[in-house]
Chain length 140, copies 2
DNA sequence: GCTAGAATCTCTAGCCACTAGAGGATCAAG
DNA sequence: CTTGATCCTCTAGTGGCTAGAGATTCTAGC
């Protein structure tokens, strides 16, 4: 277990520059180096990077991941805080889905109404140009 | 109709710095200036900015908006291209919705299974730490 | 005409989470 | 000992803005 960064990347699915970036922002610790100044990693980093990757895939922000990582280091603590981070993230995801759904509806309607003729008759252009009182006006 | 930038902002819902930014990236033209070097706008810019805002609200990228704007200037052209931009954007929105829904499912399950006890028993932390063969692994 | 305060100007830097590329050093296999 | 893959650091770029500094200009009231 003395992996170079490329091997760590292969095993975790996190790209090499991203690993270095995570080190830079302090999301993972700086590992030991070879005599020739190359990073060498162990099992700890595989786990940590996998954790980070899963959390990113679930859409957690880096700052939240920082907190979740800190919690995972304190197994006896209450998981109330982890729960609340996840909860509020779920709400955020719900908001995004709802917004996209409304948007999708408008898009689909617009496309549907397009008669595939000339620009001057096109609902797509028309809707964009003059859209004074539709739902999307109130999308944040 | 010789509006200062703040008034244009008020009428279109696009913030002042954003208007200047749009000018900088060439999304809108540089307007005439007063003797004191302040921008003054007319009806054209109101329409154009409204178009841009609507398109942004619908999630179109700036480069696509550029194309849509160019099309709207050629009323006799076919709207095939506008249609295809909108179509592919719709597909992209569908992809995003689907991705968020899968993600939401995982999040909700995770939270649901959390016993609200200690970190060492917490499904949230556990799922993140060891998540080897779940759907989210294959989310791009 | 004068003054105060609101609005405007330019410019730089920051946001997020990376990604790309230059230019050079190091490693492992043959 | 050479070759080619991998690694290093550093800077800059992505998208679509947003924030702030410090200076100027406009406008309304007196």
């Amino acid at each position: 277990m003395n992996l170079p960064i490329g091997e760590l990347a292969r095993r975790t699915g996190v790209k090499v520059p991203t690993i270095r970036f995570y080190e830079q922002i302090g999301l993972i610790a700086a590992p030991p180096r070879t005599e020739g100044n190359q990073r060498r990693y162990g099992k700890t980093e595989i786990d940590r990077l996998n954790f980070i990757r899963h959390a990113r895939e679930l859409g957690f922000e880096v700052d939240h991941i920082r907190e979740l990582l800190a919690m995972s280091q304190e197994p006896q603590a209450s998981c109330h805080q982890a729960d609340s981070i996840a909860q509020s993230h779920l709400l955020e995801v719900d908001r995004r889905i709802e917004k996209l759904r409304r948007l999708r509806g408008e898009l689909a309607r617009m496309i549907d109404e397009c008669g595939h003729g000339r620009i001057c008759d096109c609902r797509i252009i028309e809707v964009l140009a003059d859209h004074g009182h539709c739902a999307a006006d109130h999308v944040a």
